[in-house]
Symmetry: C2
Subunit: 382 residues, 2 copies
């Protein structure tokens, strides 16, 4: 595996765009993040939280009709926020993106599409003081319209605007890398909205549970900062509902079933980075998008026994029945492992990049000595 | 089993209300049907179609947090129509119905609820000529607000307004009965929106595949009517997407897992009444609502071996290991069997009650000699 990255974000996967819309003034503290794939992607989803708020997830099950989608909507507002997806649907329709359906004989030139926009929500109701301040269809439309490739705005933006993660400010994070999968370089990226009752920061060390490759850049914070951090994490009151949601994208060509597996295994990234996660009060949901630019190895089977006897590792014991996974399964394995790493890093990034938008302190304010920003954080008009 | 019925509809289950909203003038031919349970019900869902359009189904899985819901939204408009659920959410919030969440310390008297409104859609886009004419949040709100108990308006109303079933006009149908389940009378009812590529009518006989108890009232149509029917069914062009969706409700107290099973087995009613169903182009989805007024038998286990030896049927062969199901499992079995019957009848009712709103002929117009209306059909302001 030879990691490399362009932006270190989900947009490292060519064709993936990210857009945010948020309000955080007055009684508002919420928003919406939309991941768009105008060229289309094979979707998957895995819901592992005990209190999910979702839309169009059934259409993503393996074996169903829809094989391509063009956007995923992540939003604050709990169940109310599902309205944001309506705006993404409206925008995709104007772009002519969706499942194509045949117009009737009298309108042969019409181009009819039905956009399937899966969505998941985080609970941030009332975080700005206004229980009635929730993302509407306009948020989804604005986020989708503004989606771009390149560097991704992270921290307290979009669906992460009102997010809280274990007593600290939560937010949006991302990560991406290119890895060797079989004979090909494949890019994988993740975007996470972390709004968890569990913490991303280890109280003992003052550092993230999953610092990733950035660990070398992280200095353990001094005692005074660790004390402030410990006080903040201890003072936290568990919000009634929490959630980590996100998207994992890859340049690989996957079947819907494989994309579902990709979404499911990415939850292990949440498990590593957010402790605890997947509780009854979390709606943890991960979507997968496979853009199909890179074939994985087409070889489905392992080498023949003859080949295997010439393999140094097995030469002495051909009767053991051991098969080293090769070909496509091995390439998938490498892709999945990278996806888990990416999702864990995206979760960490969300909290490390966050800036305070409400009562909860930001990690970067409590432990300023730990890090300098590694990419632009939120500086957006609210 | 001793069937009895008050209205022969889903509202036979005390506490269940049904409301419709629709538009069928000009370029419109679509609508929304909402089933409300203001006292709350334990939910379940089963998605068995290959092209579903759904919302909040993940929250209904057994083992998740939400144990009570207050409404289900069934709507036209395909994926666009999911917006109708936003209006149901808004209406439930005004009623103070939903998952209660704690307001912050500074607003101790606030009553904050998050309504979880599962929804499923049927594909009726463009059936009235206007592809852009789809249910909005206003449809959902209007349907929820107008929901009542008592007799249910069936046929070409609500989500059934633009429905087509195997080349005939589709619609909304309902059925209900009270059955003996163990030691208790339990009511079960169903409401179905039939918009299927499959037919509900047997071309051979000219009668529904599932005429139910009403079969005695049905006369086989004369040859002229059967010919007209056959022509209509042959002329049908399969629409690109189809769906049968609905709700099965019961007065029994069920766990969420049992409610899921109830929703799942009700699909057998679709299988019997709509042929074919559950295809790749159908989004067939059934929700269950258990209102909890009647405990089923609490006895989980069978009788002791001593009891069984005194049972005439097994006295001669106690070593066979045969156990007649008794207690709660047997009561559940009876309930489930009744639910399948009900759902099948509701599907038949949808097509038999339908009146033409577009190009497709209504069964009652093609075969007028077969039946007289058994309950008020649609006579609503569009």
């Amino acid at each position: 595996m030879s990691p490399s990255a362009r932006f270190g974000s989900i947009t490292d996967v060519d064709g993936v765009r990210v857009g945010h819309a948020q309000r955080s003034r007055g009684r508002w503290r919420t928003g919406t993040t939309v991941v768009t794939v105008p060229r289309g992607a094979t979707p998957g989803v895995s819901v592992r939280g005990g209190g999910p708020g979702t839309r169009e997830t059934d259409a993503l099950a393996p074996g169903t009709l829809v094989t391509t989608i063009h956007a995923v909507c992540l939003t604050g507002g709990s169940a109310y926020g599902l309205a944001a997806a309506d705006g993404v649907v409206a925008w995709l329709e104007r772009c002519g993106l969706g499942v194509q359906v045949s117009p009737p004989d009298e309108q042969p030139d019409a181009r009819w599409v039905v956009p399937v926009v899966p969505a998941a929500v985080v609970f941030d109701l009332g975080r700005g003081g206004g229980f009635e301040c929730r993302p509407t269809a306009a948020f989804g439309e604005r986020a989708a319209r503004s989606a771009t490739g390149g560097r991704v705005l992270v921290g307290s933006v979009g669906a992460g605007t009102g997010a809280v993660a274990g007593g600290l400010q939560g937010g949006v994070g991302t990560a991406g890398q290119t890895v060797r999968c079989g004979d090909h370089d494949v890019t994988v990226g993740a975007l996470a909205v972390v709004n968890s009752s569990g913490s991303v920061i280890d109280t003992g060390t003052g550092l993230p549970f999953e610092p990733g490759a950035g660990a070398t850049r992280l200095r353990r914070p001094p005692g005074s900062e660790r004390t402030a951090l410990r006080l903040a994490l201890t003072a936290r009151t568990s919000p009634p509902l929490n959630t980590t949601i996100g998207v994992v994208a890859t340049s690989a060509r996957l079947s819907k079933a494989e994309a579902s597996k990709l979404a499911d295994i990415a939850h292990d990234g949440i498990a590593r980075a957010v402790r605890p996660a997947h509780t009854l009060f979390d709606g943890d949901t991960v979507f997968a998008l496979a853009l199909g630019d890179h074939e994985l190895d087409a070889t489905q089977d392992g080498p023949s026994p003859d080949d295997e006897r010439s393999d140094a590792g097995n030469a002495g014991n051909p009767g053991e029945g051991f098969r080293r996974p090769v070909g496509r399964p091995q390439a998938l394995h490498q892709l999945f492992a990278a996806a888990v790493d990416c999702f864990a890093l995206a979760c960490t990034d969300a909290v490390v990049s966050a800036t305070a938008t409400g009562h909860e302190p930001a990690y970067r304010d409590l432990c300023p000595s730990v890090l300098t920003p590694r990419r632009p954080t939120a500086s957006v008009s609210h």
